[in-house]
Symmetry: C2
Subunit: 339 residues, 2 copies
């Protein structure tokens, strides 16, 4: 029987994930926010290196809020795939958001999100549910609402987060079932990765470094390689700090991982990392899980991380600026001109 | 006889300096760029805590380029006061700019500019001229061309840069004469300070730290004190690194200097440091003399400066962005969409 999947966050990564899952026979309900109107009326317009050109594509169902499974007669969700940004310091939490759609002991929750320790609040909220790690290496963006450009093939690494209440055999089985669902359509690469920590730390070499450095300087991943001294003064030192922190926490990454991450995006594509796009749009940035958690973990293990530490605090200040702009913090009124 | 003064850079700091010097009886020729049209036709509009409200104020003479003293019959300039920004990495250099107005062996050059080692190119270019250090604690800005708001009293610390070809007695005398000229009008504080290095390092505690941190985060000096963790995570660590570098180079600053600099601007005035204003306007930033030089000096003396180092490289990347925007660097053309 077709699996019943709820996908939360139908931006670029989510739309391609929905396409892959439906290509494999799953029944996907997508929950959208900013692009709900256009997608529910016209469907997605997709230009993809994996899937080709697709117009007016609609998943099985499109909603503009999380469904409450206690109020509906339909079957429970087998999987909830979360492709939203993970902004840990701005409510509501992901656990609060998806809560109404989770069937305890049944629904597996797949976090296709970056950073460390993102599973902890979900394991706390849903202790009887399998929580799955998804690390995506896709390159995709949504230049206009509902229009998706995928210019770098999707590779999704899936693994199960350890959960004290559920046996490793059980979590592994659920994760492998998801790999099968995702890859079944045959258009994309989805791999089971037993070492979730290693996979997540590896991606942090890119995300914890290029994301904030590009966001702070306003330069994309091509320009940051051209700018005077930015690679040797900022990017590589930050990446080596992340590699050292990963090693201290038991995840030994290849020696050339920094080199490979720096050169991953083609220079002359001038691709903005997601955090730079967010800063340009005045959106909140997901800096706590991709910078704060590795920094805290590395420091607790005695790893010096001076570059990442400064980047973290700068991101925190930029987030505060966004919070003030959105009315989430109040400041004393301006004094009068003294002169 | 009235001293003949050329003032280069008639923005906020320059306009108030011209006002002080003319109040003391000097004849001031001001060289302007962006505000030349309005000042030459309507004069300055000044709202000042030191001078009160002044409308249509004109200095002795207003020019839109540096005069060539070899081509004019008028007497040489006794002083050239430079209140321009010092953007060391973008030509022309200050020495090239003011060259035509300098009379060798006669004109004293007063650098009312921030940072370290700013005198070196000028001593090299004009070895027979006295080069004077001016460190200004004024709070002033130019919200519209020709309109100056001064909301924090002017205190100018004057001293002579050491010069191998001129005796200390001579340079000290010329510097003290300038103090007399500047203070003579009675509206402002101008002090002779024998230890130029100490005075410059002291101001760097503010400039090398609050300037880049505010410029990078987009927060003014009030908001940076309110933003989550920014003072303890960024401002104070950077300031303590500058204090340590100052001490290593022989300039022991007070233990509470960081505290005093953090609280110097009234929080609820929400004042933008000059570098934040420059970033907002897309102007070049003067990061080499206020961050690069103290960093190089501190590192050469073995002082760990991890915070300042990251700030320096971020400023360098932001400057590169400005250079690209102004057409000073070229980058490879954008590749085609791959999908």
């Amino acid at each position: 029987m077709a699996k019943n999947v709820l996908l939360v966050g139908g931006g670029a990564v989510g739309a391609i994930a929905a396409l892959n899952l439906e290509a494999g026979g799953s029944k996907v309900t997508v929950v959208l926010r900013s692009n709900f109107n256009v997608v529910s009326t016209e469907g997605y317009t997709i230009e993809s290196c994996d899937h080709g050109s697709i117009k007016n594509w609609r998943p099985h169902s499109v909603l503009n809020q999380i469904p409450d499974v206690k109020e509906q007669a339909s079957p429970p969700f087998d999987y909830i795939v979360c492709t939203t940004k993970n902004v840990a310091d701005v409510p509501p939490s992901l656990a609060e958001l998806i809560g109404p759609a989770v069937t305890p002991g049944h629904t597996a929750i797949v976090l296709v999100q970056n950073g460390l320790n993102i599973e902890k609040p979900l394991i706390a909220a849903f202790p009887d549910n399998v929580i799955i790690s998804g690390v995506s290496l896709i390159g995709a963006n949504e230049p206009f609402p509902g229009t998706i450009h995928q210019d770098f093939p999707d590779t999704l690494y899936i693994g199960a987060f350890p959960n004290l209440k559920i046996s490793p055999q059980q979590t592994e089985m659920v994760a492998k079932d998801f790999v099968d669902l995702y890859a079944r359509g045959g258009k994309t690469k989805c791999e089971y990765s037993s070492d979730v920590g290693w996979t997540r730390w590896r991606k942090l070499v890119y995300n914890a470094c290029l994301n904030p450095i590009c966001a702070i300087t306003g330069l994309d991943t091509g320009r940051i390689r051209l700018a005077d001294g930015a690679v040797e003064g900022l990017v590589r030192p930050a990446m080596e700090e992340i590699r050292a922190a990963a090693a201290a926490s038991g995840h030994v990454l290849p020696e050339d991982v920094a080199h490979n991450m720096i050169e991953m995006d083609p220079l002359n594509m001038y691709l903005p990392p997601s955090m730079l796009s967010d800063v340009r749009k005045g959106n909140f940035i997901e800096y706590e899980n991709i910078l704060g958690e590795p920094l805290r973990e590395g420091k607790a293990l005695g790893v010096p991380m001076p570059t990442v530490q400064v980047l973290y605090h700068l991101c925190r200040a930029i987030q505060w600026r966004n919070k003030e702009a959105k009315g989430l913090v109040e400041i004393p009124p301006k004094g009068n001109f003294v002169g």
